[in-house]
Symmetry: C2
Subunit: 133 residues, 2 copies
DNA sequence: TGACTTATTGCAAATGATTTGCAATAATAT
DNA sequence: ATATTATTGCAAATCATTTGCAATAAGTCA
């Protein structure tokens, strides 16, 4: 928490109660705005949806969080202070697990095929978790 | 076109002028609903947005098209009669190229790490095309 | 070919996610 | 404590997508 306070300060931003709440909720797992919203509100801290969006946008600009996209229409957000990884989504219950892979070979293979300069990629797996099988 | 007429027939559906138009437009490249809409309208065939959505939903159910998701909020659609491949997106001009990769090794690696039963995956690359570099 | 059945369309309104304007509030530096 | 101004809440706007319904037209069959 001190870390993000420092980052905020360096950018002339303030560490508010709402930002702390959103940050703490994101510690668990990637979540949608509605999930973040209800998680924060469960802990008796009212917070507005628009505020959550603005905080997330700010977090992303500061490199604190990142947006992930799992094929449905709503974005999910996770903290960015973790290693590069991908997501595995249960199509039945929505559970999300991380997967760490070594994809260097694949990336090289892709870069070899194109004149584009590849800067990033996203890889998600869809399936059924143990419980739902 | 005969092929899709046959598929429609087998499912008690009709091959309308609008469906033909959407099908032909999709031959080019993955496109958003708005892009499809304006492409069809350019050819002097008026068509409604809701119709495009319904046609695409139908195409997907029949396995004629598939939806792809490139991280922004709007879905893109492409014909499904092509080999398994991935997409490479220029973050500057939006141009989309296909990439064909052999990702068996990676898939096995992912499956080994989890108790989920992996059924599908999506992999997209983001970068800058030659023109935009 | 013409009549008939019903899948399909267009339009307008509903929905759901996200963004924005603005006045009120609260975090920080002094 | 006070002043400055980033930030919040609220309501309304926007954007993508979906839906209800009456009008239209594709395909079938006499």
């Amino acid at each position: 928490m001190e870390r993000i306070k420092k980052i905020m300060k360096e950018h002339g931003q303030r560490l508010t109660a709402q930002k702390k709440d959103v940050y703490l909720v994101l510690k668990h797992t990637p979540q949608t705005v509605i999930e973040i919203l209800t998680a924060v509100q469960l802990k008796k801290s009212p917070i507005d949806k628009a505020t959550v969006y603005r905080i997330l946008t700010g977090f992303i600009e500061l490199g604190i969080a990142r947006e992930i996209n799992l094929g449905d229409r709503e974005a999910r957000f996770e903290l960015a202070d973790c290693e590069h990884h991908h997501h595995l989504v249960c199509q039945s219950c929505g559970d999300i697990k991380d997967v760490k892979l070594c994809e260097d070979t694949l990336l090289k293979e892709a870069q070899k095929q194109t004149s584009f300069k590849i800067k990033s990629h996203s890889l998600e797996f869809f399936g059924t978790c143990e419980k739902c099988q």
